[in-house]
C-alpha cells in the first residue's frame, strides 16, 4: 500500500463516520448572517425582525464547546458595562458594538529636535475577554465580528500589514506592500482594507520654537510640516487573497502655504464600501474618491456625514451622527438626516463614537459640572434623556499621558 492510498482510505473512513448535522442548521446560518449585516440598508422593520430572531436563536448558537468561542460570542448580553473601570480591563459592549481595543499615546523623543507620538494598544483577548497590552503595533483596526485585526508595526510607514488573530494574539498572515502604509481601515463587510500610503511617517513631530503649553520651558513638540503632505494614495487590499492594488491620490499644491489635508489624513471606506473618503482641513471637509482614485461627489446617502464625527451612519442608513449641540455647561449631540442635514433629534452625549443599533449610540459624556475632559463611555438612546455608563471616566486633560482612546468594532 502506498501512503497516498492510506491518506485516501483514512479520509473516506473519517468522512463516513460523521453523524448528520442537527436540524435547524439553515436557520442558524440565516440568523448569524442577519446579525453580521450590521451596515446594511435594511428597513427598520427588517432590522427589528432580525433583532427578535437573534434573541430567539441564542441557545442554538451556544451549542458548541464554550472554550473555543470568542469572548464576544460567549457573552452576548445586550449591555456589558464596567462603570468602575478606567481604563477598561474587561469587555465593554452595547448592542451590536463593542470596545475592541484602546490605546494611550506617549510622545517619545527620537533626537534633540524630533519626536514621535507612540501608541500603546490594549487589544481584546478573545479567549479571556480582557484587554491585553500589546506593544507591537502602531495602528490597530478590528474587523467586524472581532475575530481579526489588521495591524501595522511601530516604524511607519510600514511595509507589511499583519492580520492579527484575536483568539491567539498571533499574526496569522502578513500582507507585504511595496509602498509604505501608515493606516489601515476595514471595509464595512470586513472583506477588504483601505491602507493609506505615505512617503514619510505622517506623525513626526519637531521641536516647537515657542513654549506651547506655557510651562516656561521651550520643550514642546508639534507637527513637523503643515505646508507639505507626504500622503501618496491608498491600497485596496483583498483580505482573503492578500491581493493589493495601489491608487495614487496626489495632494494639491498649497495655495496659501497650507495644504488642504492634515499631515495624517487617512482614507476610509464609504458606508456602502464602494468609495473611499478622506477628510479635508478646509471647506467641504470631506472628499470622496472612486476606487481608481478619481474624485467623485459625496453619495446622496451620506451627504451630511462628517469625518470628524466617528459614529457615522446608523446601521439602517437613515440617520447620521452629528456634531456637538450642547451649550457652555451642558453636553448634547445632534442626529441629522444624512441626505438633507436637517436636525432630527438632540440627544445626550458630548461626542458620538459608534452606533449600537438604529436607536442607540456609544458616546463620550461627562458628569454635569465636571471637567470636559473627564469623560466616560456612555450609552445614549434617541428620544431618551437617560444615559447609561459603560466605563469609568478618563482622567487628565486632553493629550495627557495615559489617557485612553477607544477603538470600536461590531461584535
Amino acid at each position: 500500500m502506498n501512503v497516498d492510498e492510506l491518506v485516501r482510505d483514512s479520509l473516506r473512513e473519517q468522512a463516513a463516520e460523521q453523524p448528520p448535522l442537527a436540524p435547524g442548521f439553515a436557520e442558524r446560518v440565516l440568523t448569524v448572517r442577519r446579525r453580521r449585516r450590521t451596515r446594511s440598508f435594511a428597513t427598520v422593520a427588517a432590522a427589528t425582525a432580525a433583532v427578535v430572531a437573534v434573541a430567539v436563536a441564542v441557545p442554538l448558537l451556544d451549542s458548541g464547546k464554550d472554550e473555543l468561542r470568542l469572548s464576544t460570542e460567549m457573552n452576548r448580553s445586550d449591555i456589558i458595562a464596567h462603570p468602575d473601570q478606567s481604563p477598561p480591563r474587561d469587555l465593554i459592549a452595547a448592542g451590536d458594538v463593542a470596545l475592541a481595543a484602546w490605546f494611550t499615546v506617549d510622545t517619545v523623543k527620537t533626537s534633540k529636535d524630533t519626536a514621535v507620538p507612540v501608541r500603546t494598544y490594549r487589544v481584546l483577548d478573545q479567549e479571556t475577554g480582557k484587554y491585553v497590552k500589546d506593544t507591537r503595533w502602531s495602528q490597530v483596526a478590528v474587523a467586524p465580528g472581532m475575530r481579526t485585526a489588521a495591524v501595522l508595526e511601530k516604524d511607519l510607514p510600514a511595509r507589511r500589514i499583519g492580520l492579527l488573530d484575536l483568539l491567539t494574539g498571533e499574526v496569522e498572515r502578513w500582507i507585504p506592500v511595496d509602498r509604505g502604509v501608515a493606516s489601515v481601515e476595514f471595509s464595512p463587510d470586513g472583506t477588504r482594507l483601505v491602507a493609506t500610503t505615505y512617503s514619510k511617517n505622517p506623525d513626526l513631530l519637531a521641536r516647537a520654537a515657542n513654549d506651547l503649553d506655557g510651562d516656561g520651558k521651550k520643550n514642546d513638540f508639534m507637527r513637523e510640516e503643515w505646508s507639505k503632505s507626504y500622503r501618496t494614495g491608498f491600497y485596496i487590499v483583498d483580505v482573503d487573497s492578500g491581493g493589493t492594488e495601489w491608487t495614487e491620490v496626489p495632494v494639491e499644491e498649497p495655495e496659501n502655504g497650507l495644504v488642504i489635508v492634515n499631515p495624517r489624513q487617512d482614507f476610509s471606506f464609504s458606508d456602502d464600501g464602494k468609495l473611499v473618503r478622506s477628510g479635508l482641513s478646509t471647506e467641504s471637509y470631506d472628499q470622496y474618491y472612486d476606487l481608481k482614485g478619481a474624485e467623485v461627489d459625496k453619495p446622496a446617502a451620506e451627504k451630511y456625514l462628517t469625518w470628524l464625527v466617528k459614529a457615522g451612519l446608523s446601521p439602517n442608513g437613515k440617520l447620521a451622527a452629528g456634531d456637538f449641540a450642547g451649550g457652555a455647561k451642558t453636553t448634547a449631540s445632534e442626529i441629522v438626516d444624512p441626505r438633507t442635514g436637517k436636525r432630527l433629534h438632540k440627544i445626550p452625549g458630548q461626542q458620538l463614537l459608534a452606533w449600537a443599533d438604529n436607536e442607540r449610540l456609544v458616546a463620550w459624556d461627562i458628569t454635569a459640572g465636571d471637567s470636559e475632559f473627564h469623560n466616560a463611555l456612555v450609552l445614549v438612546t434617541i428620544g431618551s434623556d437617560k444615559t447609561l455608563r459603560l466605563s469609568g471616566a478618563r482622567k487628565g486633560d486632553d493629550g495627557a499621558a495615559g489617557r485612553w482612546n477607544p477603538v470600536f468594532a461590531t461584535r
Binding site: V3, L6, V7, Q18, V29, G145, L163, D165, D240
Partner: protein, 186 residues
Amino acid sequence: MDAAGQESFREFVAGRSSALLKTAVLLSGGDRHAAEDLLQNALIKAAGRWQRIDEPEAYVRRILYRQQVSRWRLKWRRRELTVAEPPESGGGAADGAAGVELRLVMRGALARLTARQRTVLVLRYFEDLPEGDVARILGCSVGTVRSTTHRSLARLRELAPELAALGPAPAEQQPSRDFSPVEVRP
C-alpha cells in the same frame, strides 16, 4: 434574500449540508466544532448572493476550501485530538486490525498538518481532483499544488514514523519545488 430565496436556501442546506460537513470535518483535521463553524461561514457567504449562484454546491465547496486555506477568519486554537490508540502502537500492514490502527495514526497525523497542507490532500485524495483543478480552486499554480502535496506527504511521514513501511506515492517521486508564498512570522 427574498422568501423564495430563503426557501431554496433551506432546501439546499437540508439536502446537502451533511455531505458538505464531511468535507469540512476533513479540512478541519477532524474537529467537528471547527468544521461546523467553517461550514456555517461558507453558507453565510453563499447566502449573501444566493439568487445569483448557478451551482450552489460547487460555490459553497470553493468557499470552504479557500476559507480553510486563508484561515484568518476561522483560527481556532490548535487542540490535541483524541485518537483511539496512541500513534506509536501502529503496525506495518494495512489490513485487518493493524489497518484500522494505521488509519487512526494517519488521521492523527493529518490533524497536525497545516490547514493549507491538509486542504491540498483533501482535494487531491478525497475529492480526487486533478492538480489543475486544485490549483484553480485554491487560486495558486499547479507547481504550488504539486510541491505542497509532496511536502505534505513528507510531513505525514515525519509525524508518523509508522508509515515508513508504506511505499511512496506517485506525488512523492516528483521533485519538490516550493512555489508557495513565504509566510513571515514575527
